[in-house]
């Protein structure tokens, strides 16, 4: 039986005696039997009721710990006392209300303590409240009770998402799951794959091909992903030179002149560009340009051969029924990563502006490793309006700017134990600090606290579905062979 103990602002304390199968994260319904209104509350913490004399009991049992004995308890009173001792106190947060069966945000009233009826919301009722429609959504996981949770595609479409949690908790797993489901629904996705763990999503764990095999295109910059100077364009090239390779403004002006001249003559090739730079009379400018140009050439990302060059529009055309372009950034140095991302973001912006692309879902793992400062705000504002819907995936919540958190529509929060990380997430997340601090700390691997529009603003703990695809996200182990032999 559950009863209201206290209500203070947004916090409701509930006493549960005898204990029921209610866990942190579960939802309770506080029904006012005199009206058709109910409060929807979520258990964020649980503990024992401070029963009078419990301290005495504990001390007494410690005094008699070493005793051996028999209790002739004909009435079996002990079981009743244990019920009292185990009485639980739930700290809950008000998440909404039900008014005549409809979800409402009006929580300005409080239910009567004496007559309210409390019950755990079964999965089926909760899913109904979330307006969860499995048939149209992305099937991503289950509730503790086994109820299937699917994300309404509209809550992802056009939205900014953050997936965060400490290492090994299942962030990338969720990201891959979302990616696969979006692709299967016809979405176009681009992944900045920092660890090369998305490149085999077209394969099953047994190395067979999945039904979506053809929809995954993996490109490795400098290898099967090269672009011509003409395709990259002066703007991208200059931004790379200036922002990533720190080309001084004077030298940039000279480079612009050289580029335009070669382009006008129809002679914009790497060789000609090299020669033109070497012909610059000012030694300082020549040296500055040459060093940067050579470092770009060394990446092998630029080519004069249209045959081996990649044209993004052509790649996108292949994904007209949905697909994912995986940019494999593994084993690529930091500057090169930034160059590739700079190029891609510029090109994608152009494509979106020109309606060459309707919209694209961008999955950015550990974006702080390659995303230029000025791009953060651009991604969450301008690019978002153009149709680039980003999902940031990180285990360093402080690497994402506060402004990005504030703009986020959905946060998928995995386990964090570090105080500092929790503080950052809780400050920025869209719910109260207490919920984040308590629930995120206790989430087991592959369990995620979902916050935001994705579940109709009801924070929910969801166990993420497993994948049948080959994920390659596992860390390589030195002693893995030994482990296999043993098992």
């Amino acid at each position: 039986m559950m009863q209201i103990y206290k209500i203070d602002a947004n916090t409701v304390q509930v006493i549960c005696c005898p204990p029921e199968d209610v866990n942190r994260g579960d939802y309770l319904l506080v029904e006012d039997v005199n009206s058709e209104k109910s409060l929807i509350i979520q258990v964020i913490n649980s503990g024992y009721v401070n029963v009078p004399g419990i301290l005495e009991d504990i001390l007494r049992s410690s005094s008699t710990e070493k005793l051996e004995g028999v209790d002739l308890d004909p009435l079996e009173m002990k079981s009743f006392v244990n019920i009292i001792k185990d009485a639980e106190l739930f700290t809950c947060k008000i998440r909404g209300a039900l008014n005549k069966g409809k979800v409402s945000n009006d929580v300005s009233w409080i239910p009567p303590r004496s007559t309210s009826r409390l019950r755990k919301l079964p999965d089926a009722d909760l899913i109904k409240l979330l307006e969860n429609e499995p048939q149209n959504g992305l099937d991503i996981g289950t509730l503790k009770g086994g109820g299937r949770i699917s994300i309404n595609i509209n809550s992802i479409d056009g939205k900014l998402n953050i997936i965060t949690g400490k290492k090994g908790t299942g962030k990338s797993h969720l990201s891959k799951l979302l990616l696969i489901q979006l692709v299967s629904k016809g979405g176009i996705c681009i992944v900045f794959d920092i660890n090369g763990e998305y490149i085999n999503l077209g394969y099953t764990k047994s190395e067979g091909r999945t039904s979506l095999y053809d929809r995954f295109i993996s490109l490795t910059p400098g290898s099967d992903f090269k672009v011509t100077l003409q395709y990259a364009g002066l703007g991208v090239f200059l931004r790379v030179m200036e922002n990533i390779l720190d080309l001084p403004a004077t030298s940039a002006w000279e480079f612009r002149r050289i580029w335009k001249d070669l382009k006008e003559r129809g002679a914009l090739t790497l060789n000609n560009l090299n020669s033109a730079i070497r012909a610059v009379s000012n030694n300082y400018i020549q040296d500055a340009l040459l060093r940067r140009f050579e470092s770009l050439i060394n990446t092998k990302f630029f080519t004069d051969d249209w045959g081996e060059a990649t044209v993004l529009e052509a790649v996108m055309d292949k994904m007209d029924k949905g697909g994912a372009l995986i940019i494999n950034l593994r084993n690529i140095n930091s500057k090169f990563r930034q160059i590739v991302v700079e190029f891609l973001l510029s090109k994608l912006s152009q494509l979106l502006e020109n309606w060459g692309l309707k919209a694209v879902f961008l999955f950015a793992e550990e974006a702080h490793l390659y995303l230029r400062e000025t791009y953060w705000n651009d991604i969450v504002t301008r690019m978002r309006h153009l149709g680039m819907f980003t999902t940031f995936i990180t285990n360093q919540p402080d690497s994402i700017r506060k402004s990005v958190y504030r703009q986020a529509d959905n946060i998928f929060l995995f386990n964090f134990t570090n105080e500092h990380d929790l503080e950052i997430v809780s400050r920025a997340a869209m719910i109260d600090v207490e919920t984040v601090n308590i629930i995120a700390r206790q989430l087991p691997p592959h369990y995620c606290l979902m916050l935001g529009k994705v579940l109709n603003n009801f924070p929910l703990i969801v166990r993420i579905n497993s994948l049948k695809e080959k994920t390659m996200g596992e860390t390589r182990l030195f002693f893995s062979d030994l482990k296999i032999k043993k098992s």
């Binding site: 029963v51 004399g53 419990i54 009991d57 005793l67 051996e68 009173m77 009743f80 006392v81 009292i84």
Partner: protein, 358 residues
């Protein structure tokens, strides 16, 4: 030395009568005639009502007995009981009693705990309950006057305690048996025979009964007895028997030789009664066995301390029993407003919460 399994013995009638009282199935035809009694009536060794003795002596030297630790193995048995009011009902009160026997063998402490036994005592059933229990456990054939309903928890507890004492007397051999309280009784009360029987039974099996009283206070010429013994080296006994008996022998029945006991160097000393019918030296030797075989802290034996701890009811147990009664017997305790609190509020003094538990 054999230690019997006490868990094989159970006061079944406590269960049956308790359940009957809760189910309200005790017929009015069972009721005995109601007799009003003064509330300060002291019955069968009610230890809650142990009186303060004021002993006068004319400069006599009190006999100080120095105790020694001896290398003689002995089993130490102790027992204690407790009662608690669980709340009021519309026509009476609910109470629970529990008792524990604790014993120490050469290695460890053991216990058997009896209860709780829960009773619903009303004006209608109190006489039947009390006399039925007395009849069943003491073999008392004559109906005894019953006290006020509020005194009944203590009376039922006393019966349980006497039953446990009898079990120990009949079961133990060559042991030291510790009672909580004293071996003094008002001569007017019938259980005197019972106590006599129990002590005789214990003696016949080579046991010595020692009774420790925490509550009795002796004053001699205005000085507390503790002051007389505090300066002495522990362990020791102070023989007060002659002085006390000289003054109170006409009113009280002393089944024990009365001592003040200081068993460890501490600020506490207790009244200790040793079965009078055994030889004085045997009694003193039993105390020496006690201090040599049991742990004694602050002059009080661990066996008795554990029996007390195990018998006492905690607040959570009280709530648990109230729940049991409500669920199994459908009896709800009622709340009676605290008149004192209502009238005087914070200026009422004394306990804010009365005994009624709602």
């Amino acid at each position: 030395m054999q230690v019997l399994d006490f868990s094989q013995k159970s006061p079944y009638n406590f269960v049956e009568l308790g359940n009957a009282s809760l189910k309200n199935t005790i017929e009015s035809s069972h009721r005995l005639r109601n007799i009003d009694l003064p509330t300060n009536y002291v019955g069968d060794f009610n230890k809650l009502n142990e009186h303060e003795f004021i002993a006068n002596f004319d400069g006599e030297n009190l006999d100080m007995i120095k105790l020694a630790y001896i290398d003689e193995k002995a089993h130490i048995f102790g027992l204690d009981t407790s009662s608690i009011e669980l709340g009021e009902t519309s026509n009476g009160l609910l109470c629970a009693v529990r008792g524990t026997i604790v014993w120490k063998d050469e290695v460890k402490y053991n216990y058997t705990r009896y209860g709780p036994f829960i009773f619903h005592v009303t004006e209608n059933n109190k006489q039947f309950l009390y006399n039925k229990l007395r009849q069943m456990y003491f073999g008392a054939s004559r109906a005894a006057p019953t006290p006020d309903v509020w005194c009944m928890p203590g009376r039922i507890r006393n019966i349980l305690e006497r039953w446990l004492q009898a079990q120990l007397s009949q079961s133990c051999e060559d042991s030291v048996i510790l009672w909580d309280g004293s071996l003094t009784a008002w001569t007017i009360d019938s259980p005197v025979t019972l106590i006599d029987d129990m002590l005789r039974m214990a003696r016949s099996r080579g046991n010595v009964v020692l009774a420790f009283s925490k509550k009795t206070k002796f004053t001699i010429f205005g000085r507390r007895i503790a002051d007389l013994i505090n300066n002495r080296n522990a362990p020791c006994l102070l023989d007060l028997d002659e002085i006390i008996r000289r003054q109170y022998g006409n009113y009280l029945c002393f089944f024990g030789r009365v001592y003040a006991a200081k068993l460890t160097p501490s600020q506490f000393s207790f009244r200790l009664d040793v079965d009078r019918e055994i030889e004085r030296e045997t009694g003193i030797n039993a105390v020496q066995k006690l201090i040599s075989n049991d742990i004694v802290v602050e002059s009080y034996p661990e066996t008795l301390r554990l029996a007390h701890i195990l018998s006492r009811f905690s607040a959570s147990e009280i709530i648990g029993m109230q729940r049991l009664i409500a669920e199994n017997f459908g009896i709800r305790t009622v709340f009676r407003p605290n008149i004192r609190q209502i009238l005087f509020g914070p200026y009422g003094g004394g306990l804010i919460n009365n005994k009624v538990i709602s």
